[in-house]
């Protein structure tokens, strides 16, 4: 591996401007992580107009900072107030809040910050090693490969994402439809423009992202206005003890690995990995009953995992050009705005951007580790602002922002239309992610598909004959067929015997009681010395 561009990347990051934007990014990210209802996708969408004003590298450094910064911030409210600021810190609530109730809020936050730092750093190191390897195939990528890649990206996000699969496909189809609006790039024919000049150039990514993520989320969060708030919480003893660190070090390691692996998979990302990491810790633990009552591992594992996943989800984006989740899709859009198409060519064509962004994550994680504990009080204070004050300001910023991009009032109308659409989608249970993703990849998909068909003289079989596109096609078919196969299997199982169908779900809960008696006689003689702290914890709880 050539080491020079990596070093140059640090040179890019250490420029004062980039350092400043990295700092802005992580602070905003943490802030957004604290605020429930405003996720990283929404914030990045709202801040898209800002990226026009700065260099591509600087812009992406900031947006990336928002994304992984949000993973830190989400922990704070989970632990202190039992309010998960982000979907990815929902599992942190179980043990984090229990620890806070025992007066160990500081310990939980400290461990979460350290875990996040380790998770993020492990992931960046792996990213540094893996990404150039994947990108080394770049030269072999032509239009057919890009076609398959775009198709696979849309399909994976729709198939693996959380929520209903059918609804995700519907959303993706709408996204593809929206991508066709405007003048055809090859023939010049106008499509779905309704004779409007504003739509002749196609729909812009910025108003769509700002509407569907930004405005829609604000509208949605206004619904919770009537809910009763919570009294403020105190933070004491912010540094974890040596014993806590020792106890959670394994969990942090395992969480980082899980997060890294699941983060690469499209549609997986931070939410899934935090759930998986928590599940694994609970299963591995000799004292699973401690979980939910303030087990430090229950905070350490998911927090390491969601940060590792947030970082590793940049791998498919920066190397293959597939956005792995909704937030990354918005960052993808930001890159396209800057005239850079993320893909296998990125490392070769824009090494300063690739390594600049990757290396900025090291700096960003250090900044986050330093800031997360001292700033907790400030972040909690922000939660005392009422939604009726916060929402109008955010909406105003969104609308002014989108207007400044093109000085075009039609864009404001677009934001409002897509805001309402996104809100209705949310209400009806449609994920906005696949729509935006399909829209982003739609134009890429179309132009490359048509270019490759010209290459193949209109022969569709050409996609299967080239090695890389053939492989991608095979993966595509597997992704399509597997869920169908599973569906058919479940159908036939359900047809044979009713009680057999809910087996996996019911079996998991049934396993734990049957496992523990069989484990305890064999384990107890050998494990008694190391197990001493577990019964100690139990007696403490019973005495309370």
């Amino acid at each position: 591996m050539d080491i020079a561009p990596v070093i140059d990347g640090f040179g890019v990051v250490l420029q004062p401007e980039n350092l400043l934007y990295c700092l802005i990014g992580v602070v905003v990210g943490m802030l957004v992580g604290v605020l429930p209802g405003l996720g990283p996708a929404a914030t990045i969408a709202i801040l898209l107009p800002l990226t026009y004003a700065v260099e591509p590298v600087t812009a992406i450094i900031m947006l990336a900072g928002i994304f992984y910064g949000a993973q830190y911030g989400g922990t704070i409210t989970s632990v202190l107030l039992r309010l998960p600021g982000e979907a990815s810190s929902v599992v942190t609530v179980f043990d984090g809040y229990a620890l806070a109730r025992q007066g160990k809020a500081g310990t939980a936050l400290g461990i979460a910050a350290i875990g996040s730092f380790v998770g993020g750093t492990v992931s960046i190191i792996a990213l540094t090693l893996v990404a150039p390897f994947i990108a080394s195939f770049a030269l072999d990528f032509g239009p057919p490969e890009y076609t398959m890649l775009a198709l696979l990206g849309i399909l994976l996000v729709a198939a693996v994402g959380n929520g209903s699969r059918t609804k995700a496909f519907v959303a993706a189809a709408i996204g593809l439809l929206l991508a066709t609006v405007g003048r055809d790039g090859f023939t010049g024919a106008e499509r779905f423009t309704f004779e409007s000049l504003s739509m002749a150039d196609g729909l812009d990514f910025v108003p769509i992202a700002m509407g569907i993520f930004g405005l829609a989320e604000i509208l949605h969060s206004l619904e919770n206005r009537g809910k009763l708030g919570k009294p403020p919480a105190k933070v004491s003893n912010p540094w974890p003890s040596r014993k806590d660190l020792k106890q959670s070090s394994g969990a942090i390691g395992r969480g980082s690995v899980i997060g890294f692996v699941l983060g690469i998979l499209p549609g997986g990302g931070a939410v899934l990995s935090s759930l998986a990491a928590y599940g694994l810790e609970k299963k591995r633990s000799k004292t699973p009953e401690r979980f939910g009552k303030g087990a430090i591992e229950g905070v350490a594992a998911p927090e390491s995992a969601n940060n590792a996943a947030a970082t590793s989800s940049f791998i498919p984006l920066l190397t293959l050009g597939i956005p792995a989740n909704a937030t990354i899709a918005v960052i993808f859009g930001a890159l396209l705005i800057q005239g850079i198409t993320p893909g296998p060519g990125l490392v070769e064509d824009h090494p300063e951007l690739f390594w600049g962004v990757v290396n900025s994550m090291y700096i960003g994680n250090i900044l986050l580790l330093m800031m997360s504990i001292p700033l907790v009080g400030l972040f909690v204070k922000i939660l005392t602002i009422r939604a009726s004050i916060m929402a109008p300001i955010t909406v105003l910023i969104t609308l002014i922002g989108v207007y400044t991009v093109n000085n075009n009032s039609f864009d404001i109308v677009l934001v409002i239309v897509f805001g309402v659409l996104g809100y209705l989608m949310k209400k009806a249970g449609f994920e906005p992610g696949p729509l935006v993703l399909a829209f982003v990849l739609g134009s890429l998909l179309e132009s490359n598909a048509r270019r490759s068909l010209i290459l193949f003289d209109g022969d569709v079989a050409g996609f299967a004959t080239r090695p890389i596109s053939g492989t991608l096609l095979a993966v595509l078919v597997v992704v399509l067929v597997l869920p169908l196969l599973g569906f058919v299997l479940r159908r036939s199982l359900a047809g044979r015997g009713g009680p057999a169908a809910p087996g996996p779900g019911g079996g998991a809960t049934g396993e734990t009681p049957s496992d523990s008696p069989s484990d305890s006689p064999s384990d107890s003689p050998s494990d008694t010395p190391s197990d001493t702290d577990a019964p100690e914890g139990r007696t403490k709880e019973s005495s309370r």
Binding site: R225, G229, P231, T384, S388
Partner: protein, 131 residues
Amino acid sequence: MTVLVGYVDTAPGNAAYEAAVAEAARRGEPLVVLNSPQGGALVDKALVGDERRAELASVAAAAGVAFELRQPTHHDDLAGAIAAVADEVDASVVVIGIRRRSPVGKLFLGSDAQRVLLDLDRPILAVKPRS
């Protein structure tokens, strides 16, 4: 008949609470504590948490007074919320804490204490914190 006190965890609020406990003990009536947040925010500084609630209850218990805490959201109308609860529990006296306001502040923001004093048709005990 009960003694109703409007409470937030501030100096005037605590002065009002102290006076209300004494008043309830003197009258031999149960004490109803109204802690009404405005609502809309995720964290509300005015809201009484579990710890503070226990402290308040122990003060009341020490004086031999029955204690009840109510926390309805008042949105924009605090005086209305106090009036509604006062009617519901049939308060013989309503205790509130008052603080100094500048004329300008009063002009722009109004005064909840003034509205309570003028709007409620019940005896009201207004308490200032000791300075």
